[in-house]
Amino acid sequence: MIDILLMILTGIGVALFGFVLQTSIAGVNRKVVARVQKRYGPKWYQEFLDIFKLLSKRSVTHGWIFDFGVIMALGGIIGTAMFMPLTSSFMAFDGYDNFFIFVYLIAVGMLGMAMSASGSGNPLASIGVMRALTTMLAYEVPFMIVVLTIIKITGTSSLSEIGLFQQVAGNSWFFIALPIGGIVAVMALMGMLGKKPFETYIAPAEIASGPMVEYGGKQLGMLFIMHEITVFIEVSLFVHLFLGGAENIVLFIVKYFVVYTALNIISSVYGRFKIDQVVLFFYKWPLIMAITQAFIAIYLGWVI
């Protein structure tokens, strides 16, 4: 009983760590993007300020589902983050860091948010949710195919074990071992994080930030927290799956930072796709590339 409690506490610690890590790195990244745009940029802890400011405000609610959805969203994401291994050997629930848990448990959070947004009664929120789900339909399939290849090669769907597999001498990181798949994964990751050109579902100037249109104050703050943890989960997934996991926490943070910053830099030079362009894009090249990669790797055995 005690060790289960301890595990859960560790899990909460992981989630908290993820939140702090991602929020800081996001702040730093705002500076990075600002530099790209020849600006000075905000303080590195600006994201924290934003979130706590939101939590301090007096918000409005549109009924119980509006609040319930937010709680479910944040709860689901915290729950998901608790499973995330930080290094390839450190995680809260040893042996249960199954890839599918992340993919699907994260969906509870998404569903909660979508539900809450639609519950607000604002059509723009529903449109945003529609776009978010459509985008999800677009990027998820190519990504899953690449991960399928990895799972098939390593014979395990545990993130830490996939990480360890890459650390064995002779095996290279999957980003290098499966180069085509790696590129697909990067594109899919940009879709997951809602970075340009795939930020169609936020589109502030078009649909007034989509799902978040009716949020203010604490609900928005909680969604921000949720967003940060989601990003933490998704980027960590990438690190574990494609960049050889992490032997220690420093390496993890470094890899994490590199991935996230690189994505931000890429995204800062793009415009925005229309929603059907997103779908068409992902179902054209990334999917073909992912299938090609899977075929080469699984049936021909060509893994670098």
Binding site: R39, Y40, L49, K57, P204, A208, Y215, G216
Partner: protein, 189 residues
């Protein structure tokens, strides 16, 4: 002699402390809702982009009134837009602030004798900071934001409280300007 005894703070004191902490966050993270009805809006792009970079101050544009902290009224307001401005302002979550741009919001500016334009914005909604000029240059705009931050720090940005306290007064002014039908949709008139 200082007492080592722990004296619990009163509830008001606790609230005040929290409020001060909140104010710190709020003034360092001002999210704007830009109500770009007039020409002063043209000052915002340079303020946001690399020339002045208001993100340094933690400010940024937001899409909807629910998310925003500060409402920027950039210039003259016709009666039609006034209705919408009030509606928008009332949708914002508290605490909320208003910055009025240009002389039009102060005294009507060059439109002071127009039948369709209001002259004094703070008769209808509480304005915390005015940025004078026709139009104000970007430094003035930035200065206005910093002023607002100072006001928040000094707990003087109380327009939203004022709106609650003197709501009848504001309402009367609004009605006087807009007629008995304060808000109405053109589809349903």
């Amino acid at each position: 002699m200082l007492s080592t005894k722990f004296s619990p703070m009163s509830k008001e004191e606790v609230d005040r402390k929290w409020w001060e902490i909140g104010d710190f966050f709020r003034r360092n993270s001002l999210w704007m809702l830009m109500y770009c009805t007039g020409c002063c809006a043209i000052e915002l792009p340079p303020a946001m982009t690399s020339a002045y970079d208001m993100e340094r101050l933690g400010m940024g544009p937001m899409a909807t009134p629910r998310q925003a902290d500060v409402l920027l009224v950039t210039g003259y307001l016709s009666l039609k837009t006034l209705r919408r401005l009030i509606y928008t302002y009332e949708q914002m979550s508290e605490p909320k602030y208003i910055v009025g741009f240009g002389s039009c919001t102060i005294n009507g500016g060059i439109y002071h004798d127009s039948h369709a334009v209001i002259n004094q914005l703070n008769k209808y909604i509480p304005v915390d900071v005015f940025v004078a000029g026709c139009m104000p240059n970007t430094e003035a705009v930035m200065n206005g934001f910093v002023d607002l931050m100072d006001l928040i720090k000094n707990k003087k940005a109380n327009g939203w409280k004022d709106y609650h306290e003197r709501y009848e007064w504001y309402l009367a002014n609004q009605k006087a300007a807009l007629g008995e039908v304060r808000v109405h949709d053109e589809f349903h008139e």
